[in-house]
């Protein structure tokens, strides 16, 4: 399953997508600890799989929660974002299964 956490508002699309099929294959789940803002958590989803997810309290402000890992306008693509996201995000580096994508 592709779980998209985040939102779209006037200023853009801000979603973290977790591919739970790939995530389920990973035992280590180093992503949650790697995030400096504590955005991710490991939990059991509705279908009984243990996967990474974005904490409820961050879902509505993910643009702000992830801000310290995202450069300003000179460092990223303009509106529209890059589907792959900048490669150096700590969560993505820690993810062995390549299950995490950022929409901005």
């Amino acid at each position: 399953m592709l779980a998209n956490y985040g939102y779209q508002d006037g200023s853009g699309d801000f979603f973290i997508t977790i591919n739970t099929d790939r995530c389920g294959e990973c035992q280590a789940k180093g992503c949650a600890a790697a995030c400096p803002a504590g955005v991710l958590e490991i939990m059991e989803d509705d279908y009984g799989d243990v996967v990474a997810s974005v904490r409820e309290e961050h879902r509505k402000k993910i643009k702000y929660s992830c801000a310290s890992c995202k450069p300003g306008h000179r460092g990223i693509h303009p509106e529209g974002g890059s589907e792959a996201g900048p490669p150096s995000l700590p969560c993505q580096t820690a993810c062995a299964a390549g299950a995490i994508r950022h929409s901005w």
């Binding site: 508002d9 006037g10 509505k60 402000k61 801000a67 306008h73 000179r74």
Partner: protein
């Protein structure tokens, strides 16, 4: 040499008249739906304040959301460029500039030479700038200028879950029904705003001196939240809402001095 900077914001059109290194006048008029008229009328008022005539103004540069409506301007510059110039003019040690206006928030990082290194914006979402506080002030039935002082009297931390001005308004109404004090609600509102601006600023990196400009700088509750979030004291120049227009006037000075070359 006298130059004029016009910042046509979403809520107010501001004009600053600059003579060399001296600010001669500062005037503002509500923008309403007539951007060009507001800009003209603010300029006329500024000329009157300075006691000079239009012909004495060597150059006019416009900035702000409505800059293209100022057809009588000699040139336009971006708000980022204007913010940087204005802040540096007043605070030469400025390295981070945070501008929070009615509808837009900006954070700008400058290097030692005053060049813009990076910037981040909160735009097109009312929760990202002053409109948020304005909507909440209406829901609380207090004047906008009360939001700051009111929040400083808060005795309890109340979380604000909504990240949208429309949903926050409903949340404020529920809080009022639950008998939460206006002071505590005002604080929650200002803290929520401050938290978003802090995050936006972190995207460009925080380096002292951090200069806060824009109308929302008048909100002492917001400033408190901002300083707590950034863990430092910010510098707020006098007349923070005029700094962008001042920056445009500086740009006009550069342009007139360089024979028309625009440093963007």
């Amino acid at each position: 040499m006298i130059t004029a900077g016009i910042d046509v914001g979403n809520k107010y059109a501001k004009v600053v008249l600059l003579d060399g290194d001296r600010v001669l006048a500062r005037q503002s008029r509500p923008t309403g739906f007539e951007q060009k008229e507001a800009a003209s009328s603010a300029l006329v008022a500024a000329l009157a304040e300075a006691g000079i005539s239009r012909e004495q103004v060597a150059g006019v540069v416009a900035t702000g959301a409505g800059k293209s409506e100022v057809v009588f301007a000699d040139d336009h510059i971006t708000e980022v460029g204007a913010d940087a110039r204005g802040a540096l003019f007043l605070v030469p040690a400025a390295r981070t500039v945070v501008d929070v206006g009615a509808e837009e928030g900006r954070a700008i990082r400058l290097d030692g030479n005053g060049r813009v290194v990076d910037f981040a914006m909160n735009e097109k979402c009312a929760a990202g700038a002053g409109s948020f506080t304005e909507s909440m002030a209406r829901a609380l039935e207090v004047d906008l200028i009360e939001m700051g002082p009111l929040s400083l009297k808060s005795t309890r931390l109340v979380p604000m879950n909504a990240q949208c001005a429309v949903f926050a308004e409903s949340e404020v109404v529920s809080l009022i029904h639950a008998r939460t004090s206006k002071e505590d609600i005002a604080r929650a509102v200002n803290d929520a705003m401050a938290s978003r601006i802090v995050s936006m600023t972190r995207r460009v990196g925080v380096e002292k001196e951090v200069v806060l400009i824009g109308g929302v700088a008048h909100n002492v509750g917001f400033v408190k939240g901002l300083e707590e979030g950034l863990e430092l004291k910010v510098v707020i120049p006098e007349g923070p809402e005029y700094v962008t227009a001042l920056g445009a006037a500086c740009a006009a000075r550069e342009k007139a001095g360089n024979g028309g070359k625009d440093n963007g």
